[in-house]
């Protein structure tokens, strides 16, 4: 599992992914962690299959008992099916996830970790040295869905929005936006079910100052590519499986 520090000014943002040992048959995922002093927030920690490489990679950057918080943007297995294992590794941690999914996520096995349901309108989490905001992204693609915004680092962890399906050795950042479009077009058209939800999200994130948009699959958008993505997404017709 490769770990790349994408922000390091007082607190750090670390991206984990591009695991060369990942079985071919499972989708490549990006996991993120904010390290702020002696507290860390692990975001969309991934499925059971990536648990061991993830934990191994994390232990280069933070102590186990410093990982005080976990965030799951929604309920999908590639996001959080490792919960039962984190539950045994981090028994004192808190899981922040949509309130809507609590009863479902507990099926992954949660006997120790505390579930902190995020209300529909979102809220904030204080990590000591930094506050992050849970931004509503309902129906993008899950009925209860949030993204994480760090106003200090100007990073939006955007879950499945901005995701691209490509090889696990792909570069970390989008270099040529136009060239990147075919890698994400089908994903957004099919996985995102609602134009109304999409436009609501577009309106909301346009009010945020974003330098990096970090999705759960594919590459990170940086600088002007963030605005280009938002414009492209706004114009895209989604929910195409309905004839």
């Amino acid at each position: 599992m490769k770990a790349t520090t994408i922000y390091d000014k007082g607190h750090q943002w670390i991206m984990f992914g591009r695991d060369p040992e990942k079985p071919e048959s499972i989708i490549d995922t990006n996991q993120y962690m904010i390290v702020a002093g002696n507290r860390a927030l692990l975001m969309d920690p991934g499925g059971i299959e990536v648990f061991a490489p993830m934990l191994g990679a994390i232990l280069h950057h933070a102590k186990v008992d410093e990982i005080t918080d976990i965030f799951a943007s929604h309920q999908d297995p590639d996001i959080i099916s490792s919960l039962g294992l984190w539950d045994q590794a981090l028994p004192h941690a808190k899981l922040h996830s949509p309130w809507l999914w609590e009863g479902f996520l507990r099926h992954f096995g949660m006997n120790n970790i505390e579930y902190v349901g995020i209300p529909d309108e979102g809220n904030e989490l204080n990590l000591g040295e930094v506050d992050v905001r849970f931004i509503p992204a309902h129906y993008l693609h899950s009925s209860g869905n949030f993204h994480v915004y760090d106003p200090k680092a100007k990073i939006l962890m955007s879950g499945d929005v901005g995701a691209a399906l490509e090889a696990s050795e792909a570069p970390l950042f989008v270099e040529d936006f136009d060239e990147h479009i075919p890698k994400m077009e089908m994903f957004h058209k099919r996985w995102m079910p609602s134009n109304r939800a999409k436009n609501d999200w577009v309106k909301r994130v346009r009010t945020l100052d974003i330098e990096y948009m970090a999705p759960q699959h594919g590459r990170i958008f940086k600088g002007e590519n963030v605005a280009r993505f938002i414009d492209w997404f706004e114009a895209l017709e989604v929910g195409v499986a309905i004839p």
Binding site: F51, A52, L55, L59, H61, V64, A89, P91
Partner: protein
């Protein structure tokens, strides 16, 4: 080339199968119980003439009650065992994954901080293994007791036939009851045999 071997049944499947075998027995046991109670009523209605049948009808009723309790106990124990097995499997899985993290990341700065979690998981795993053993022994004992109960049931059915052969007006009704008891006992014995086979599969994997 060796002889082909039968695939080993998964431990969790084997335990669920025991519960399923016993579930199918419950209906039979209840119908015997009902028949036993019916036999008691018949012998009571017979007044003095039915006195000779009473010990038999009492025995049938007692055996069916014992069988109901036995099936309940076995089902509960099999369910408990399944839960312990799932917990044990989860602990083993976590333990193995934690150890693979340690093995592959010896150079990680904070690798030692995972050790308390590894120890805790190891303790939980060992506790589950020990609890599983105890529960397996309980289940074996319960199956043996039930087996004994069915032997008694068959013996009572035989005696019942002899007694009813000397009876008169209630003979037919009680013969039906004793035949049902014998049939049920044979059916339950077969289910117990199947349960033993599943239990052996669980033991083979330990």
């Amino acid at each position: 080339m060796g002889a082909p071997t039968e695939p080993v049944e998964d431990k969790l499947v084997a335990l669920a199968s025991i519960a399923a075998e016993l579930h199918s027995v419950m209906g039979v046991v209840w119908s015997v119980s009902l028949a036993g109670k019916n036999a008691k009523v018949i012998s009571a209605q017979a007044g003095d003439k039915g006195l000779g049948f009473r010990p038999i009808t009492e025995s049938i009723d007692e055996i069916s009650q014992q069988a109901i309790r036995g099936v309940d106990d076995i089902s509960s124990e099999a369910l408990r065992l399944s839960k312990i097995a799932v917990h044990e499997q989860r602990s083993i899985d976590a333990y193995q994954r934690f150890n693979s993290v340690i093995k592959k990341n010896v150079d990680a700065k904070y690798i030692k901080t995972i050790l308390p979690a590894v120890n805790k998981v190891e303790q939980s795993m060992r506790a589950s293994i020990s609890e599983f053993k105890k529960s397996m022994n309980n289940l074996t004992l319960l199956l043996e007791t039930m087996d004994q109960c069915m032997l008694t049931a068959r013996a009572v059915a035989s005696v019942s036939r002899i007694v009813t052969s000397s009876g008169q007006e209630y003979r037919d009704k009680l013969t039906v009851v004793s035949n049902d008891l014998d049939k049920a006992a044979r059916y339950i014995k077969q289910r117990l045999l199947n349960s033993y086979r599943h239990l052996n599969n669980v033991n083979a994997q330990r």
